[in-house]
């Protein structure tokens, strides 16, 4: 028989109240009686734990869903723009063919080519960004110096920038293509956005307790404080003139790659004094 003045009854009622308010933090202590009240307490505790876990899952799903919705909307919007251009250019080509102006037609065809090229880049960028799931990551021993030298050779960075690496960079466990994607994106941004006659890029490494901190320093225009977090968001364009050619995918991909390796990336910058793109690489 239940005893109404059993203090556990009051605890149970309070717990139900807290659960109704979606507060699942507290666990009630069961006595050693192993009676019906103890059974209710154990049941409530399990229910509370289960609901808490479901709420966490729900919140994660909501977050992922919101990101997916934004991704789909922005991707569709960004793809719509070159498609509209292509549609307009084909009408112009049609007109120029009617007026038999070969020169004009060739101009429009060139424009068509460049627009489809941009669209191709955009689609490739979206694919690169989406493809990077932690499941397809293969770890290998990578010499950061060698990766950079390979990028310099392949992309002819030396033609566009003065690259300086004052010290030896670390050898780490990472994925080579992922590391190439990171450096390639940051180097190409430094070159693209540079407002000086000579683009200067310095790569440094600082040894910390459990990781290396890599810093890529450029002499570009710098990034305003309000844009320093936004630049890592997908399809974000920070608002400079050079951004008109940007897809807003590069740094988001870099962040996505590093996050999938549980590494961090951030930027330190004062407008007018260049930027330092910093990221961690585990030892």
């Amino acid at each position: 028989m239940l005893i109404v003045d059993d203090p556990r009854l009051a605890q149970i009622l309070d717990m139900i109240g807290r659960m109704a308010a979606l507060d699942f933090k507290e666990e009630l202590p069961a006595s050693k009686k192993n009676d019906v009240l103890d059974a209710i307490i154990v049941g409530l505790n399990m229910l509370s734990e289960e609901l808490q876990s479901n709420m966490v899952e729900k919140s994660k799903l909501y977050h992922v869903n919101t990101k997916l919705e934004k991704f789909a909307l922005t991707a569709a919007h960004d793809l719509k723009s070159p498609i509209n251009s292509i549609s307009g250019i084909t009408s112009l080509i049609e007109l120029s063919l009617k007026s038999q102006s070969k020169e004009e037609t060739l101009q429009y065809v060139a424009l068509l080519k460049s627009t489809t090229e941009k669209m191709k880049e955009l689609v490739t960028g979206i694919l690169d960004y989406s493809r990077h799931s932690p499941d397809d990551i293969e770890l290998e021993v990578i010499d950061t110096n060698q990766v950079i030298q390979q990028i310099v050779r392949m992309d002819r960075i030396d033609l566009f920038a003065k690259l300086s690496i004052p010290q030896s960079l670390p050898v780490v466990q990472f994925n080579k293509s992922a590391m190439m994607q990171i450096f390639r994106n940051i180097f190409s941004n430094a070159i693209k956005y540079c407002d000086k006659q000579t683009c200067e890029i310095t790569v440094k490494s600082i040894e910390k307790k459990d990781h290396h901190e890599i810093r890529i320093i450029d002499n570009g225009p710098g990034i305003a404080p309000e844009n320093q977090k936004r630049i890592f968001e997908l399809f974000n364009r920070a608002g400079t003139d050079a951004d008109q050619d940007s897809q807003g995918i590069g740094l988001a991909s870099v962040k996505s790659v590093l996050t999938s390796f549980n590494q961090k990336i951030w930027v330190e910058s004062t407008p007018g004094h260049g930027s330092q793109f910093c990221f961690t690489l585990s030892k």
Binding site: A30, K32, V42, G43, M46, E50
Partner: protein
Amino acid sequence: MIDTEKIIFTLLPDHIALVECKPDTVMTLDEGLLSTRMMEKLSGQPLPILCDLTHVVKMTRECRTYFAGPEHAKCFTRCALVITSPISRVIGNFFLGANKPLRPTRLFTNKEKALQWLKEKED
């Protein structure tokens, strides 16, 4: 028979594993993992289990999830849970309702009936 800190595992003559939890047992993921290992040690092949939850006072979420999952399902064919105390009754019902084990699992308040069900199924 294997006697561990919280659980006793016994192989009954009719190839049924008897799992008995000691008084005031709190079942955590460690006990879940131990159970799989001990069941494998007991016979080396999946067996029907007669599991007496009477003295269990708590089973963590991780443990319930593990017991309902594929890893533990490898070591038994079906499971009869004996629930003769109020707490074991709520744990057993919660386990069946929320965790939905992969192998046939039923609750019994009588050990003989539980054994009978395990043997019936075995035939």
